[in-house]
Amino acid sequence: MKKKSLALIMTLLLLLMPLALAGCGGQSSDKGAQNGPKPIVIGVPTSLGSIEGADSLRAVELAVEEINAKGGVPVGGEKRPLKVVSIDDRGSEPGVPVHDALAALEKMITEEKPDAILVGTFRSEVLLSAMDLIAKYKIPYIGSIAMTPEFEKKLAGDPEKYKYNFRMGLNAVYLVQYLGKTMEFMGKEFGFKKAYIVNQDVLWAEGTAKGLTKWFEANGWEVVGRDSYPTGASDFSASLTKAKNGKAQIIVPIFDMPQSGILLKQARSMQVPALMVGFISPAAPGSGWKTFEGAVDGLVNFQFEIGPMPVKSVPKSVEFNQNYGKKYGEEMRLKLSGHGPGPAYDSVYVLANAIERAGSLNADAVVKALETTDMEGVIGKIKFNDKHQVIYGVNPQETAIGSAFQWKAPGVRVPVFPEVAAEAKTELPAYMK
């Protein structure tokens, strides 16, 4: 009897499910039928369950709100508002096949009919297969998270087919250049010549680590060792011991997994006398000092693109931080991840600008206009190169920039690189003196 009633309740629940779903579906389609000019639909398909994805979506929504407050985007004589639709592709989660992420993207394209797609996929391998999907549906796509250099290679292979794909975010090649320049600076400043690279075994980090190894060898540094850790590794004593015994002066961590926090803490507890210069995703947000109870002291961490932290020489980045703090609260601003939000925010403006110049929503016209983009943004000067990648450099007047900051007591992030953005000099932490 008991079993029977249980089964009954469950069947009821199941019957109710589709109803609830139908209700949800109905609501969202009602929203579309507003009065006034038809909105321009911006699709954001990304891994909303990850910090980078969630932050990027918030940044996009902020920009959209700002543009709509000014009346929208002029298209062919009429001002049209922007509308954001988002979908979670779970790209950051383990055990999720590529097809699941692509299905999300395709669902959005075919059902919401977005006029453009921003932020885009999370994982590099998904980006590469998503390019074919974008080519099929011919929708302008400005990605800002996945950073494999294979993107440009693939685009160069068939520029006509893949011309709808753009990337605002930093790619691994630029990251190597930045890291190289930072190392050069470290070498000059402190006379460092020995480095140890520890990276995560994923596409973008492998690429960055390989590129950096080459740079070190070409510039007379000694690479004491390079280790790649599988995603999810939780003990880094092997590399840290080798780095300590090899007397490495700099450790270059390249990680976007939360466990990299262990590396940071373990390095301090093992008292490895080396400066960490690289990217550790959990240490990028402003709340990092508190989270790691000061273990981040001295770490030079990259913000792939400026934006999550105000840089005085780029006024827009200061403004972005203020507005973000106003809309979502100061606490959320301090949690902004080091990769994604800046370019995500800018991509809305770049798109609006391109649509305005193209005078229509026609994908090919918008792509043409995007190719000639030349505007100021949160990340600096935004221009695409012939492979549809935003050009990064060291001068915000000429190119977009990424920056590095150093954690200093009592828990502040001080921009130290590049020179135009630097607000203080890199200092050696107490444990290195």
């Binding site: 910090i51 280790d227 790649s228 850790y229 092997a238 466990q259 803490k265 959990p282 709340s287 989270t291």
Partner: protein
């Protein structure tokens, strides 16, 4: 080099053993492969964080509360879910897995994906052991690991409840005829196993930060250690953890860290192929192969 391998190998083994202990205990005592183990481990971490940061409880109150809460959660999972599919091996597996995924993804939905979730260490600072600095927290882990293994062995072999549970695991029908309530025993073992998982979470999570995907990884690690050592013996578990812990550290130090994950999977496959009941499992030739 050698001393650091010895020390960190031991630490890693202790971590592996602690994370696997709860899983192995439940499997050994009630025969349920609790695939929600990773979720229980991780949610204990988040619960402890909420107790400490949102409610502002002191450490020595928050930790016991977390452990008790996890125990209750385990018992609840048994009464609400597992009991209804008990004996249907596959349904058990799918049901516990679904519970685990639901819990983990619930935390993801709640927004527990940012980087501020961090549990405090018990004692700060580090100690110098023959030229290798080890932090106290890692030593605490080794200590807790040894203590738990010893306590559980005593519990299973020298208390009435422990004996009753083991009797249930050995022969359910005979145990029933001796007046041991099967559901009660299984629920108790679930509660106990979950509480141990919570303890493991509280001592091992301070090494890094808490993140959702850890829940899935912990489950796989627990499975590997348990299978390697033998599905029900504590001795086997200790040896399995030591083997895996040292295998990983040695590989990481002398070869390349990228082989670390490969090594333990190879060990797992080899042991399963050659001696399926684990290195120290009871010899059950007829049940495991033909």
């Amino acid at each position: 080099m050698t001393s650091s391998v010895l020390i960190f190998g031991l630490v890693n083994s202790a971590i592996l053993m602690l994370t696997a202990l709860g899983f192995s205990l439940i499997f050994g005592l009630s025969g349920v492969a609790n695939l929600a183990h990773g979720a229980i481990y991780l949610s204990s971490g988040y619960v402890a964080w909420i107790f400490l940061n949102s409610l502002g409880l002191p450490y020595f109150l928050a930790v016991p509360l977390t452990i008790v809460a996890a125990g209750l959660l385990g018992a609840a999972i048994y009464w609400l879910v597992i009991m209804r599919v008990r004996g249907l091996g596959l349904s058990e597996v799918i049901a516990t897995f679904a519970v685990g995924v639901a819990i983990l993804e619930f935390f993801r939905w709640m927004g527990f994906v940012t980087y501020e979730f961090n549990l405090p260490v018990l004692i700060k600072g580090s100690l110098d052991i023959s030229g290798v600095s080890v932090d106290y927290q890692r030593l605490v882990i080794v200590g807790v690991g040894i203590l738990m293994a010893a306590l559980l062995w005593l519990f299973a072999h020298h208390t009435k409840i422990g004996l009753a549970l083991r009797g249930m695991a050995q022969d359910e029908y005979t145990a029933l005829s001796l007046g041991i309530d099967s559901d009660w025993a299984a629920a108790l073992s679930m509660a106990l196993g979950s509480a141990i998982a919570a303890l493991a979470a509280v001592v091992t999570l301070p090494l890094g930060i808490i993140s959702i995907n850890l829940g899935y990884e912990v489950l796989i690690m627990a499975l590997a250690v348990t299978v390697l050592g033998g599905l029900e013996s504590i001795t086997g578990l200790v040896v399995g953890a030591l083997l895996l812990g040292f295998a990983r550290t040695v590989t990481g130090t002398y070869f390349d860290p990228k082989w670390m994950e490969v090594v333990y999977l190879i060990a797992l496959v080899l042991v399963l192929a050659v001696k399926p009941s684990g290195l120290f499992g009871k010899y059950k030739e007829l049940e495991e192969r033909v």
